[in-house]
């Protein structure tokens, strides 16, 4: 194959890949899932930084519909401790992903929120209370003081995301392509103190 055709194929492939990986821009829907972080802060307790954060999570109709039809949603709270740098990418000191599985239990008619790390389960009558519990992080130990440089400044970052890869296979392509399957929200950043 000649260089010209290779280049041509590469451009086409790139366009296709861009369509696959950034579908949200094209199939926008007013009904979107949001993760609005209203508060996130750390406290130093016994030389350990503890995180307190409150996030208002709301799911799109598609997500709620899927949830009510037995599809489990895996949501993760992505927490990063970073050391900002002036002219270069920030140095990620610690990267934590708190993963929760939210599913509806038909028999008891309850929403069950499972901490995938600890296996701890909580039941809720409504998805709103389950999402409130999901967005409520209290006293979560982030990092010990000894792991940080005393002279440096650090910051914390918090964001929420839905794990599309954990969805059933037939739903994944749709989830990649449509925006109502993306948990949107700005990354919240605060200074570590």
């Amino acid at each position: 194959m000649c260089l010209r055709s290779r280049r041509h194929s590469f451009i086409l492939a790139s366009c296709f890949w861009a369509l696959l990986t950034s579908p949200a821009c094209l199939w926008a829907n007013s009904d979107i899932a949001k993760a609005i972080i209203t508060k996130a802060q750390t406290r130093l307790v016994n030389d350990v930084y503890l995180l307190d954060a409150i996030t208002t999570l709301s799911l799109s109709e598609s997500m709620l519909n899927a949830l009510d039809n037995g599809i489990s949603l895996t949501v993760s709270a992505n927490i990063k401790i970073i050391r900002p740098r002036m002219l270069w990418f920030d140095n990620i000191v610690k990267d934590i992903s708190k993963q929760y599985e939210l599913k509806y239990y038909d028999l008891s008619e309850r929403y069950i929120l499972t901490d995938l790390k600890t296996g701890e389960k909580k039941q809720f009558r409504t998805h709103t209370s389950a999402l409130t519990a999901l967005g409520d992080i209290q006293d979560y130990p982030l990092i010990s003081l000894g792991a940080l440089d005393k002279n440096a400044r650090y910051a914390g970052e918090l964001s929420y995301s839905l794990h599309i890869n954990k969805l059933p296979t037939p739903l994944r392509l749709k989830a990649y392509l449509f925006k109502d399957w993306h948990l949107t929200g700005e990354t919240y950043r605060w200074r570590l103190q």
Partner: protein
């Protein structure tokens, strides 16, 4: 000629095979991702992307090939239309079944997925779930009632007593756990079964909230350790003003069997609903996978059609090119051969054929060259022999004729070629005579060789003696393929023989006559001297007259004998390049004082080439001819005018000669002597020896020329032709001299 499969094409094939294998594997993984989520699920999107990119690459490749084909079609490249036909055929053969299978598969797929879902099954599952729910609710209600009853025992009881009571009641009611808590969720007393976690349970926020509002909280739970269980939290009424408000948390075990069944119902219902929810997505995903497979198959088929058509047509294209090259005369063409199929055999046969053609052509060229050489050799031989040669075919047409034959027959040889001798007779009397002479011989069929000698008369009336020899040509194809005639003009030879005989006679005659002449003369003079005085006058007169006559005649005979001797023994000539005009000027100067007797008029063409001649002999020729003119006059009082002219001969056969013409205004040659004018002892003069013109002819012939005499209006004319020397030859001779 391009090789059957070039390196570029092999690279292309290898690339496409690798891409084919990658995409095939990717499609298998994509299909497997629907059934084996753990194995391929995480790569689903990547597999989709990989397939899309692969298909785009194949599409791009096909676009390039299509563009190339269109371009070749526009340019009218040979074999393109055939390639297009084969390509279309391949594509139709491959795509048509694929498209049909795809359409049926799509339909089957959708129907198959729809057939998974059935209304009665769904209703049954709903009923089963409701039944399970009712059973659970019944259990919960029972547990709530028991827990409410138990809570009355904990009203206004001390903490220590509560510890004992919880343990007692837990064992009595076979509970998993019984814990007394404050409404602030602090444990007052707790008792747990042995296999339970020793850590007492707490009510969750929802439970606390409900209890504070005086409502019982119930929760059904399943975990790996305890299995299915029911958690009940109730307020301990009435709330005391003295002690802390309390609530009682009781965990009831759920029947294992019922719990398992309920769990199964839950899973089945959940699975069914999930499947129903994903119905359209499943159709879409399976259709996408099937479409990718279709696209992959179709595009690969199209590419393969391009490849195979190219592969199939290439030998035919090569054959066409090779045939054209061979038609154009290029026999060095060799076609690349590969494989063992019929096309390869055809190519191999083509190469063999070209090889044989090339060998045959080389041999033909070699034979042609040989024939040309032989022809050139034969032509050279024929052109340089002194005999005329004419070859006649069976029809009597002239196949070969050499220049000498043309000279003898005084005809342009080009006019004779490929024509019958009979047809050439009309304007050529010599050819006519020649033809008449040979016809009786070549008409005979029983003789293969003959020879004859005959006379023909040339255009100037001279007799030519021709000696001719004929031989039958025998070739393989025909019995009698014609005749070859070899003939020569032997007139000069016969004349030379005659002259040689005359020279011999003259020499012997001179020798025999000259010897007795001196004694005869001396004897006569002696007789006269001895007897003249002694004889009577009359007798003396007779003696005087007789001896005088004897002496006179002896002198005459002596002079005749000298002439004979001169004719017979001519010294060898010394040839040098000579300007004929200059020599003529010199000779003419000798006669300038003879006004009234002889006048020489010169008409000389300037810048004539030199002749190779002995100046003295040519001078003798001029003197003899001029003298002959003087002696031939009858009226001695009349001045004789001799005109000497020179020019180049303009006939093609004599273009290498200079024509010297000497004419006088005398009575001319006697007609009866014209034929033998140059023979010795032929003279019309009373006192002539008859050797003058014979010597002239002899000298001219010694110089390679010829002489011709004839009478013109008012005088005689002699034409002498002498060959001139080419400049190159002259230079060489000059160097030698």
């Amino acid at each position: 000629m391009a090789p059957a499969i070039s390196i570029k094409h092999r690279g292309d094939l290898l690339f496409m095979v690798v891409l084919f294998l990658i995409l095939l594997g990717s499609l298998f993984a994509l299909a497997g991702s629907h059934n084996n989520i753990e194995r391929f699920g995480d790569f689903y999107i990547w597999l989709l992307g990989l397939n899309a990119v692969g298909l785009l690459i194949i599409l791009g490749r096909i676009s390039i090939l299509t563009w190339g084909l269109i371009s070749r079609l526009r340019r009218g490249v040979e074999g393109t239309r055939l390639t297009l036909k084969v390509l279309v055929m391949f594509i139709l053969v491959s795509l048509l079944p694929v498209a049909i299978v795809y359409a049926f598969s799509q339909n089957f797929l959708r129907n198959a997925i729809d057939s998974w879902f059935d209304t009665p099954v769904e209703a049954a599952l709903n009923n089963a779930l409701n039944l399970s729910r009712d059973a659970l609710n019944l259990q919960i209600l029972t547990a709530q009632r028991i827990t409410s009853n138990l809570s009355q025992s904990f009203y206004d009881i001390s903490s220590d007593a509560a510890v004992l009571l919880t343990d007692e009641l837990r064992q009595e009611w076979d509970l998993l756990e019984l814990t007394l808590l404050t409404t602030g969720n602090e444990v007052i007393a707790s008792s747990t079964a042995e296999y339970m976690n020793l850590k007492p349970s707490h009510a969750n926020n929802e439970g606390i909230l409900q209890v504070r509002q005086g409502v019982t909280y119930a929760e059904f739970n399943i975990d790996d350790q305890t299995g299915a269980h029911i958690i009940i939290v109730v307020p301990v009424f009435p709330f005391s003003a003295v002690t802390q408000n309390r609530m009682l948390l009781a965990i009831f075990p759920y029947s294992n069997r019922i719990g398992t069944l309920a769990e199964d119902v839950q899973n089945s219902f959940s699975g069914y609903r999930k499947l129903e929810f994903l119905r359209n997505s499943l159709k879409w995903t399976y259709s996408l996978t099937l479409t990718l497979v279709l696209l992959f198959t179709a595009l690969m088929s199209v590419w393969l059609a391009f490849y195979l058509s190219r592969r199939l047509i290439l030998p035919i294209q090569n054959l066409a090119k090779g045939t054209r090259a061979v038609a154009g005369g290029d026999l060095s063409t060799r076609l690349p051969s590969s494989g063992r199929d019929e096309l390869s055999f055809l190519v191999s046969s083509f190469n063999q054929m070209i090889q044989h053609l090339a060998t045959a052509r080389t041999k033909a060229q070699s034979d042609q060259l040989l024939i040309e050489n032989q022809r050139a050799y034969l032509s050279t031989v024929l052109e340089h022999i002194s005999s005329g040669v004419i070859a006649l075919n069976a029809a009597g047409e002239v196949r070969t004729v050499n220049t000498k034959a043309g000279e003898i027959l005084e005809v342009d040889t080009a006019r004779l070629l490929h024509r019958s001798l009979r047809d050439c007779c009309e304007n050529n009397p010599l050819v006519d005579q020649f033809h008449s002479a040979i016809t009786p011989h070549i008409a005979k069929t029983n003789t293969s060789e003959w020879h004859d000698q005959f006379e023909i008369i040339d255009s100037q009336g001279k007799h030519k003696l021709i000696r001719c020899r004929g031989a039958q040509l025998i070739e393989k194809i025909e019995v009698n393929s014609g005749w070859v005639l070899v003939f020569e003009d032997v007139t000069a030879m016969i004349r030379a023989q005659r002259e040689a005989a005359w020279g011999e006679v003259a020499q012997r005659l001179a020798h025999e006559i000259k010897n007795p002449l001196t004694p005869i003369q001396l004897s006569a003079e002696r007789l006269r001297h001895k007897l003249l005085d002694k004889m009577p006058p009359e007798d003396a007169k007779v003696l005087e007259r007789s001896t005088h006559t004897i002496v006179q005649q002896v002198e005459g005979m002596k002079s005749m004998v000298r002439a004979f001797a001169d004719y017979a023994s001519t010294p060898a000539a010394a040839f040098t390049p000579l300007s004929l005009n200059q020599l003529i000027d010199e000779v003419a100067d000798l006669y300038t004082g003879m006004q009234g007797i002889l006048k020489i008029r010169l008409v000389l063409t300037p810048d004539l080439p030199y002749i190779s001649a002995d100046a003295n002999r040519i001078r003798q020729v001029l003197h003899n001819v001029i003298k002959n003119a003087l002696e031939s006059r009858k009226d001695t009082r009349r001045e004789v005018t001799v005109t000497v002219s020179t020019r180049r001969c303009n006939k093609p056969s004599t273009s290498h000669q200079i024509l010297l013409t000497i004419e006088d205004d005398g009575p001319g040659f006697p007609d009866d002597l014209l034929d033998k004018l140059f023979e010795p002892y032929v003279t019309s003069k009373a006192k002539g020896s008859g050797l003058g013109l014979a010597i002239v002819k002899k000298i001219i012939e010694e110089h390679g020329g010829n002489i011709h005499a004839y009478n013109k209006e008012g005088g005689a004319c002699l034409e002498i032709r002498l060959p001139f020397v080419k400049k190159q030859t002259m230079d060489l001779q000059g160097d030698t001299v």
